[in-house]
Amino acid sequence: MLVECQQCGGEVAVPSDAISGEIVSCKDCGSEYEAVIGSQGTIELKSAEKVGEDWGE
């Protein structure tokens, strides 16, 4: 199941057997989402982005 990534417009692949709360990431930009499975099996993505680590040199 492919859902549009809110960050980059890419495709987030949500496994067919995904369970609510499962973390999935966008292949193109790496942003992470929490899968929210609705009663009729609808799939919604809630951003699971914590503050990105800073690798400041």
């Binding site: 809110q6 980059c8 417009g9 890419g10 930009c29 790496g30 992470e32 990105g52």
Partner: protein, 351 residues
């Protein structure tokens, strides 16, 4: 099987062409010409090819070699190919020049950037600028290609989607390039003497770098009006690799999502351009370290709205996508092979 000759086989680009040809299922190295190393085994100059290429360099006349070759690659120092090409062009070999002599369309640009009176300006229109991502259709119909410079390739590929959408080109574009030592070739000098070259961040060309001419030519071509581009080039502590950070001064700075759309729509089907912009990890943006040995050009971007600046980032292996790999890609297009033929090796990591 295609008979292929490399004219200028002893340099790093000549060695890389030879390496890639051994990986090409439909091409065979017929001859590798080197005046200074004639009679010597290829592996005496390219130790990596010991046991793989059992051949000596030839000193035979390059035009005769071209006559008997389906494809002739020229990887000679600047100004050399324009001495041979007027004769070679009369043969029916497919000509791929990795030098700068036939990259520019405007002969006056050679005076301006190379301080060079081009000996056969009428032949300039015979050659297509060998960047498949921009000129695939023209390359397909042609038999004469001039392979772009390594820094130009990285800068152009990272900037094209922005120019096309009118994001880049309204204001100045400043390209800040970082280059590995293999870019300056195999001839030793004080500048490449280990104790002097090791660990430098040496801005060897703050202004007027020759590759700027190609970047101006190609970006202006897309925008249909002159684009203001300038470049500074630095030698850094790496052997293979180019990184270009292009500072795009722009009054029109769209959202990151729109910029993703611009890059994705231009590069979605390209086999050798990868979009790299990751929210996590140590490697969020393009870095030549992850392209070494492959024909990939990694392209990425960021925005700096307060400063009215978009940052376009490019990274590639200067010997592969920046030279020999791009040359083989153009050969594949001209000869009707799958574009990735002989170019399928993933980058090495770590290296």
């Amino acid at each position: 099987m295609l008979n292929v000759s490399v004219i200028g086989g002893s340099g790093y680009v000549g060695g890389e062409l030879t390496r890639l040809i051994t990986l090409h299922p439909s091409a065979k190295l017929q001859a590798t010409y080197s005046r200074s190393h004639a009679g010597k085994y290829v592996h005496s100059v390219h130790p990596n090819l010991r046991g793989i290429v059992d051949m000596t360099f030839t000193g035979e006349d390059p035009v005769r070699l071209a006559q008997s070759s389906d494809v002739t690659f020229l990887s000679l120092p600047h100004g050399q190919s324009s001495k041979l090409i007027p004769e070679m062009i009369k043969t029916n070999t497919v000509l791929i020049d990795l030098g700068a002599d036939f990259r520019l369309k405007d002969k006056d640009a050679y005076i301006r950037w190379y301080n060079y009176q081009h000996p056969s300006p009428d032949l300039l229109k015979e050659f297509v600028y060998g960047l498949p991502e921009l000129h695939r259709a023209e390359i397909k119909k042609s038999r004469r290609v001039a392979v772009p410079g390594c820094m130009a390739t990285s800068a152009i590929l990272s900037l094209v989607p922005l120019v096309r959408e009118g994001i880049a080109g309204t204001g100045p574009i400043i390209v800040d390039a970082k280059v590995g030592s293999s870019g300056s070739g195999g001839k030793p000098s004080l500048a490449t003497h280990f104790s002097e070259r090791y660990g430098v961040v040496r801005i060897y060309k703050p202004a007027g770098h020759r590759h700027t001419a190609e970047i101006i030519q190609e970006l202006s071509n897309i925008r249909n009006s002159k684009v203001d581009v300038s470049m500074s080039a630095h030698s850094v502590n790496m052997v293979r690799g180019i990184e270009t950070t292009s500072h795009v001064m722009s009054s029109n700075i769209p959202s990151l999502k729109d910029i993703w759309k611009a890059y994705r729509s231009f590069y979605a089907d390209e086999p050798f351009v990868r979009l790299v912009r990751d929210l996590h990890g140590a490697n969020k943006y393009p870095d030549p370290k992850f392209t070494v040995g492959s024909n990939f050009a990694d392209v990425g971007f960021d925005t700096d709205p307060e400063a009215k600046r978009v940052i376009a980032i490019g990274a590639l292996d200067n010997l592969v996508k920046g030279a020999a790999g791009n040359a083989v890609q153009c050969m594949n297009i001209m000869l009707g092979f799958d574009e990735t033929e002989g170019l399928k090796s993933p980058p090495l990591h770590p290296v």
